[in-house]
């Protein structure tokens, strides 16, 4: 297992070469050639003191060392925060390569769920030290979706009592709901109610996260509304 922390650590006064030496002593399968190659690709000077690097460069060093370790498990803690989009995509590609070729398992933590959508197979949500949600990404996307619906007649939330929904918001005659369940079955149920408009939209991971947190009262919309009211007053 190799771990790339959020707060990086290097031996005082170390260069990439020194760190790769250390990693070689720790990880028997450490691939020095790969390390050299990646350093060269990212244009990182292997003889320069790492403490002189920028935050992003340090994170790159840490990542290439981890990737060169060729361990079965790779832990990346907030790794992509310091990367620009180009590097980020490159690193994602390398991770995917490792996963595919060596059957490695990468565990990536991030507060930016958008990054993880196209890379991860599974997702777990942690809140206050506990696991609140764990699912396949695909499964998550298909079991959580947004519906925008309108009816020619007056209605309220009770119309959808037969459908498991997390959130219901009505604006005029158009309502939007976040629904958990089977998308096809839900579509049949909704169409049976003869809506004028019925759009089923996929959710992003961020939206899933937000809506799940809302159920745990981890939401600051009310605070924002109050502040808005005060400002208007």
């Amino acid at each position: 297992m190799v771990y790339v922390p959020d707060e990086l650590y290097f031996i005082p006064g170390a260069t990439i070469n020194k760190m790769s030496d250390l990693y070689r002593s720790i990880y028997p399968a450490f691939d020095i050639d790969r390390c050299h190659y990646l350093a060269e690709t990212l244009k990182l000077d292997e003889w320069k003191n790492i403490s002189t690097f920028s935050k992003g460069m340090k994170r790159q060093v840490s990542t290439i060392l981890a990737l060169s370790a060729k361990t079965d498990y790779l832990f990346f803690d907030e790794t992509f925060d310091g990367f620009d989009p180009v590097i980020r995509n490159f690193v994602k590609g390398l991770i995917c390569q490792d996963v595919l070729e060596r059957n490695a398992t990468a565990i990536i933590t991030s507060h930016s769920l958008r990054e993880l959508e196209d890379v991860c197979d599974k997702l777990a949500l942690l809140h206050k030290g506990g696991l609140i949600l764990q699912s396949d990404i695909e499964n998550l996307k298909t079991s959580h979706f947004k519906v925008q619906i309108a009816f020619p007649y007056d209605y309220d939330e009770t119309l959808f009592s037969d459908i498991e929904h997390i959130r219901f918001k009505k604006s005029g005659s158009v309502s939007s709901m976040i629904i958990k369940g089977n998308i096809d079955e839900t579509e049949v149920l909704l169409k049976a109610k003869n809506p004028v408009i019925c759009d089923i939209l996929p959710l992003t991971l961020e939206e899933v996260f937000s809506y799940e947190m809302e159920t745990l009262e981890y939401n600051f919309d009310a605070v924002l509304s109050e502040m808005e009211v005060e400002n208007n007053e």
Binding site: P5, P12, S25, K70, T71
Partner: protein, 764 residues
């Protein structure tokens, strides 16, 4: 199977991590090694360049002493460098996330520091020894001593390494690591040493190094280095020989290594940046610091409880002040380490716990004191005794029917020495143990009578101490049964061998007990064998010298002495030396054992052939010088006193001087008054034409060196002029005068003796 699978061996040690750690320390290791070697070589060359005298090199005082620098500075620094990651959260996370077991990392890093210590010690010892060998004509090395010292230094390095690793494991900042490590390394032994000194100082029968084996301050070698070599608070020198201290230090190191490993394994990453890994450890550190300060209370109160309980009331305010200081220091320590006022105030609230701790300490010490006084072996259980003699004079006293009783003279209790007063002429070279007395103290006396006397003496002495806790050293007690005062005139350190253990006690005893013991010792075969089995001149590790003679002359005299002394008993030899006025001797150095020893082999009337041979060579070497100086002096002046002064200066090469200052106060003035009165009486009348009329055939030029402490003179035969010369290594004032040869020298000495120590002049 993944190539990254960690094998079983990696659970305890990882060779690659170890090599990595070695690499990380290579700069400090190599710089230290090179600097030490260069400094050592230069200092050896510098100290021996142009020197003619022989130096007997002991590891702990020669250039090898620099290795203590490795123990005290370099090794702790290396540990702090390697374990520095424990002071930062990200560093801790990194190392704790490694696939290897934590103990593997711990042992690998500790091993790396020990390896570097070993490299430095081995290389430095080799280079220094080679450097000394290049000047081998001037320096005598003891290889056994050097090996023992180097090995003990390595053991010390191991202990210091594991202690500092433990300190780093239980704390989260550099400051608290240093404090914790210092506490772990020094405090236990410091506290035991304080207790030992306290118990011994109030005990009369114990000394600081013989309370118990584990209580000796020299058990812990790094602490001995700090106390002996760095701070010069004590002198034990266990580090120069293999012994119990080596084993104890090594075992302690193993214990601390295991504890440190356990603490390291349990250590959470959150400890980084904090004072300690847990509140319990922080509490313990704080209490230890407070307890150390309140030990002053224990030091003060313990003798009060042992001897006199009335002092307590008068010093309550001092005791309260000490306690308040301790509380404040605990508060300050907590404030600095935890950086919160709330914790610091809590620390203050815990400080009263120190008081019952001190009370328990005093109770424990009183218990130990009581035990030592009651632990008196019966004579039937003692297999042998060994005797250390402190004062050589006692030998003469005890073997020459010295008077037993004190009498009241001028309101002072003293011994009526009468005509038996003598002076100690036996010279100790304090740098090394004395060859003779070291061997005497190793003799296991199995004489039942001596054992009985020693046991009885100890029993009596302990009984008196218990009856009278204020029994001072060297005093007497009143025996009600016989209604007499019994004086303890003599004190010996006696080792009682019982079964597989030894009990060491300082025993003050009466003259009758002392005589039995000393006579038994000196008359034993082993004692006589000491002088009858002197080492051969050419034996490895033996060196005999005299600054006035050549090697061949020394060899001849020594061999003569070796043969002659075989017919002299130890008692007779020592008595002759003590009572004789001669200071002619050969210096014998013996470094066969790991602890070198030396002595002066005195050439006296006990060995007349050796003595005559010595004087023959001495006179041959100095004949021309004597004649020249006398001639110069005779030609220098007409003034009688000035003549003497000039003569003395020329004659003795300015190594002695004549006190001409009549206004000098104190003893010099008395000396001059005496000299004048004797001169007036015994001096040859000054002729008008002194130089022409001075006839050395009819006079003694008496160069008598006198000071208040000793009287030296050396008989110089073999010339027409009977000149008594001074021993050339004296350097204080003296009285010189010209005496008519017909003058009664005994009368002279008797007149001098009033108020001074004197000896009879040896006249052929």
């Amino acid at each position: 199977m993944s190539e990254n699978k960690i094998c079983f061996a990696d659970n305890f040690f990882n060779i690659k991590l170890y090599l990595q750690a070695l690499k990380r320390l290579k700069v400090i290791g190599l710089v230290t090694l090179v600097c030490m070697m260069l400094f050592s070589v230069f200092s050896i060359i510098h100290n021996n360049l142009g020197r003619n005298s022989i130096e007997y090199v002991q590891a702990h005082s020669g250039a090898y002493f620099m290795m203590t620098f490795v123990v005290i500075i370099i090794v702790p620094l290396m540990v702090l460098i390697l374990f520095h990651y424990l002071t930062t959260r990200n560093g801790s996370d990194f190392y704790h996330s490694l696939a290897q077991k934590r103990r593997s990392v711990y042992f690998s890093f500790v091993a790396a520091v020990v390896t570097w210590a070993m490299i430095i010690i081995v290389c430095f010892t080799l280079v220094t020894t080679i450097a000394y060998m290049l000047v081998s004509k001037l320096c005598i090395l003891s290889i056994a001593n050097i090996l023992a010292y180097s090995f003990n230094i390595l053991i010390s390095c191991i202990l210091v390494t594991v202690v500092f690793a433990l300190g780093c494991s239980i704390t989260g900042t550099v400051f608290s690591s240093l404090v914790a490590s210092a506490c772990i390394l020094v405090l236990p032994r410091l506290i035991i040493t304080i207790f030992s000194y306290m118990i011994a100082s109030e005990s009369l029968i114990l000394s600081t190094d013989n309370i118990a084996l584990l209580a000796s301050p020299s058990c812990n070698l790094p602490v001995e280095i700090i106390f002996d070599d760095i701070l010069s608070l004590t002198y034990n020198n266990s580090i120069s020989s293999f012994g119990f201290s080596t084993l104890y230090t090594f075992i302690l190191a193993i214990i601390y290594l295991l504890i440190g490993c356990k603490m390291y394994e349990k250590r959470p990453s959150e400890t980084a940046g904090k004072a300690a890994s847990s509140k319990k450890i922080q509490y313990c550190l704080r209490m230890i610091i407070g307890y150390l300060i309140t030990l002053f209370i224990v030091v003060y109160l313990y003798p009060v409880f042992v001897h006199n309980r009335s002092y307590i009331k008068t010093s309550i305010d001092v005791l309260i002040l000490i306690f308040l200081i301790a509380a404040f220091v605990m508060f300050l320590y907590e404030l600095i380490t935890s950086r919160t006022l709330k914790s610091a105030l809590k620390a203050l609230l815990h400080s009263p716990i120190l008081l019952p701790m001190d009370a328990a300490t005093i109770g424990l010490l009183l218990l130990i004191n009581s035990y030592t006084l009651n632990n008196v072996p019966a004579a039937s259980t003692v297999d042998y005794i060994k005797v250390d003699i402190y004062d050589v004079c006692e030998i003469w006293d005890l073997t020459n029917d010295f008077p037993d009783e004190y009498t009241l003279i001028n309101d002072q209790y003293t011994v009526d020495y009468g005509d038996n007063w003598t002076n100690n002429n036996y010279y100790y070279n304090g740098a090394y143990p004395d060859y003779i007395f070291q061997r005497l103290s190793d003799i296991e006396l199995t004489d039942k009578v001596a054992i009985e006397a020693a046991s009885t003496a100890l029993n009596e002495y302990c009984s008196q101490i218990k009856k009278n806790p204020n029994l001072a050293e060297g005093s007497y007690y009143h025996d009600e049964a016989s209604d007499t005062d019994i004086y303890y005139l003599y004190e010996f350190r006696i080792t009682y061998g019982t079964g597989h253990s030894e009990l060491i006690r300082h025993v003050r005893m009466t003259a009758s007990d002392a005589k039995v013991i000393i006579n038994s010792l000196l008359e034993s075969t082993e004692a006589n064998d000491i002088m009858h089995s002197l080492p051969e001149y050419d034996k490895t590790g033996t060196y005999v010298s005299n600054p006035n003679l050549s090697d061949d002359e020394v060899k001849e005299i020594y061999n003569t002495f070796r043969e002659e002394i075989k017919n002299v008993s130890m008692t007779d030899y020592l008595n002759t030396v003590i009572s004789s006025h001669t200071v002619t001797s050969l210096d014998l150095y013996d470094n066969e054992a790991s602890t070198p020893s030396s002595t002066q082999l005195y050439l006296t009337s006990a060995t007349p052939n050796a003595f005559s041979l010595y004087m023959k060579y001495y006179n041959e070497h100095n004949q021309n010088s004597f004649d020249e100086k006398l001639s110069t002096a005779l030609n220098s002046t007409d003034d009688y006193r000035a003549y003497l002064t000039a003569y003395i200066y020329d004659y003795a090469d300015n190594t002695v001087y004549y006190a001409t200052d009549r206004d000098s106060s104190g003893s010099d003035r008395d000396l001059l008054i005496y000299a004048d009165s004797i001169l007036d009486e015994a001096a040859v009348p000054i002729p008008e034409n002194f130089k022409e009329n001075f006839n050395p055939e009819t006079c003694y030029i008496c160069l008598m060196y006198i000071d208040l402490y000793a009287l030296y003179e050396e008989y110089y035969p073999g010339t027409d002029l009977d000149v008594i010369t001074m021993n050339e290594y004296n350097g204080s004032g003296g009285i010189y005068f010209l005496l008519n040869k017909s003058y009664d020298l005994n009368k002279l000495i008797n007149e001098f003796s009033d108020g001074f120590e004197t000896r009879k002049i040896y006249v052929p």
